[in-house]
Symmetry: C2
Subunit: 339 residues, 2 copies
């Protein structure tokens, strides 16, 4: 089975995202948000059959770990109440996708984060999504301010209530920022990658995994700048008299394969232990075009991996068993959804 | 000749950095700064002979393009007046190093930037350093706020007065942030690399090089996350209907080789045209230890390059001719300093 651990519902029916615009406009004008729009099963089916399911089939992958659109989370907009209503709406849609296509999608939730609001606020929604919807993880935004980086780093006790619940539920987080509202950053060009690198370094300089030895983070987009600068990070840890990165972080931190050219994938799989790499594409995401150098979509990451000198066993780790291990509830959920 | 285009005076005599502490303390208490301390030629000699010169000789490099300590620039501290006094002091020391060791160091200045203060403010110091000191470039901080990213992106007209002067003087800028005062970021672990990636994307999304076709930026630390995600950046530009990156940016943007392991250097030289890569180490900088996997210093970047499958002509570009081309005044200054 080929599991893509990083997919967002970027093709959701138009009225869903339109409602978000209305909700935020109402909030800024001090009005109540309008009622949420109806989204029919047929509309969801069409959005998936012409979107992620079609691409899954074209590329020969089997299952996508699926979550709300990352740039759409917009934790810098509105307040804790709007974030909660929006997260509820987005997660419910993901649940309906998984219910309609149980053999193709397993859910991961967004959290109702809000800049400066305690992550404790996210616990109820996480619990609901895992227990009622059968979701297997969450997306955790390390910068709910959208590019101004005002919240404490991930190693801070500020985040601990959420981590306690994640550990209790046995769900990992993909550490994924949302849209940048800071003009210094381009959302998918620099803010995403910078969020990945910042998050990794926040972990490296904290005692987070001493305190939560079973907490697991997936750093998306191939780990931002981290694998390319693996020697730098090894050296920084060494200068700080910390244990080797393998010991310090690699029981808890994993990287996905959202790197959109072959040399990057070569580096990733050469530098990072294969047990720490999870197959992913973020298809219909940041980069949608076809690479004229290959004639294939930039984000068709399976094609790169197929060109790497990996054994069948190594590929099985990347494609399936690492995801089943990192997402502790995944195998159970697959069994349930496959019926 | 082997030219290392990225060296900072990290070993400057203690009283120099101590004065900076006193200056900032005085500023925050509303007092005048104490007079600047005396630094003798012998003290400078000792700091260099036991520092960068020793390492140059051990590693077999010839000339370092040398500038004030990057983390020490601290443009988020004090105000425009303290920044000006500090830049003057730092640049003067670099000038004295170059005068004492004219065959080993050529100068690059820091700029008296200050968060929210027009870069126009930097022109006089740049002019002074180039015309009186014979410096060949400047370090430009794209985030004088130290990790809060409050100034406009590099493509904004806000920066144009400085660019006009750079073009007039024929000096490039290394785009290099300073210390992070935002607890979300580790200075050398995430802020430096994120600054590089953000700066590249700011260039990609602007018409900067249309307006300044001869302006040149060096993105340090191997370009942050950029070469590792070169496919992503190519694809993003393509989705935006921009020309290929080679045409859009590579007449103006260059990367150094401050990548501290062999696989990273392999990727860099495989992905980025060799005409756009400048040899550099940032020695006695971010990472000071010896890599137990190689038995050599992490930042001994020449050792990695020597292991790459490059022709003698390619190495000559990396080591010398690219730097002479990008730093338009370098060959003239070398001729002058070598006498």
């Amino acid at each position: 089975m080929i599991i893509d651990c990083h997919g967002h519902y970027t093709t959701s029916p138009r009225q869903h995202e339109a409602w978000r615009g209305e909700q935020i406009a109402a909030h800024s004008e001090g009005r109540a948000a309008p009622p949420r729009p109806t989204v029919t099963d047929d509309e969801i089916r069409a959005s998936i059959e012409n979107g992620q399911l079609k691409v899954q089939q074209e590329r020969g992958t089997d299952l996508t770990i699926f979550s709300p659109r990352a740039a759409g989370m917009g934790h810098h907009l509105g307040d804790a109440t709007t974030s909660e209503a929006w997260a509820t709406a987005c997660n419910e849609l993901i649940y309906r996708v998984c219910a309609l296509f149980p053999r193709n999608f397993v859910g991961v939730c967004m959290l109702p984060q809000s800049a400066g609001v305690s992550p404790r606020n996210c616990i109820a929604e996480l619990e609901r999504c895992v227990q009622q919807y059968g979701f297997v993880g969450c997306n955790l935004n390390p910068d709910p301010s959208g590019g101004f980086w005002k919240d404490p780093p991930l190693g801070d006790r500020y985040w601990y209530p959420l981590y306690e619940k994640m550990v209790e539920l046995d769900v990992p987080a993909m550490v994924h920022v949302s849209a940048a509202c800071n003009p210094a950053f381009h959302t998918t060009g620099s803010h995403y990658l910078n969020g990945d690198t910042a998050a990794f370094m926040q972990c490296l300089t904290s005692d987070l995994f001493k305190n939560f030895p079973t907490l697991k983070f997936i750093i998306p987009h191939g780990g931002g700048a981290v694998p390319y600068h693996w020697g730098r990070f090894r050296g920084l840890a060494q200068d700080m008299k910390l244990p080797p990165l393998s010991e310090l972080l690699l029981n808890n931190v994993f990287f996905d394969t959202c790197v959109y050219h072959l040399p990057g994938q070569e580096l990733l799989t050469k530098v990072i232990p294969l047990d720490n790499i999870l197959f992913a594409s973020e298809m219909i995401g940041a980069v949608r075009g076809i690479d004229p150098e290959t004639g294939h979509h930039y984000d068709d990451t399976k094609r790169y991996i197929e060109q790497l000198p990996l054994s069948a066993g190594d590929k099985a780790k990347l494609y399936e068993s690492n995801s089943r291990r990192v997402y502790g509830r995944l195998s159970g959920q697959i069994a349930k959804q496959f019926g």
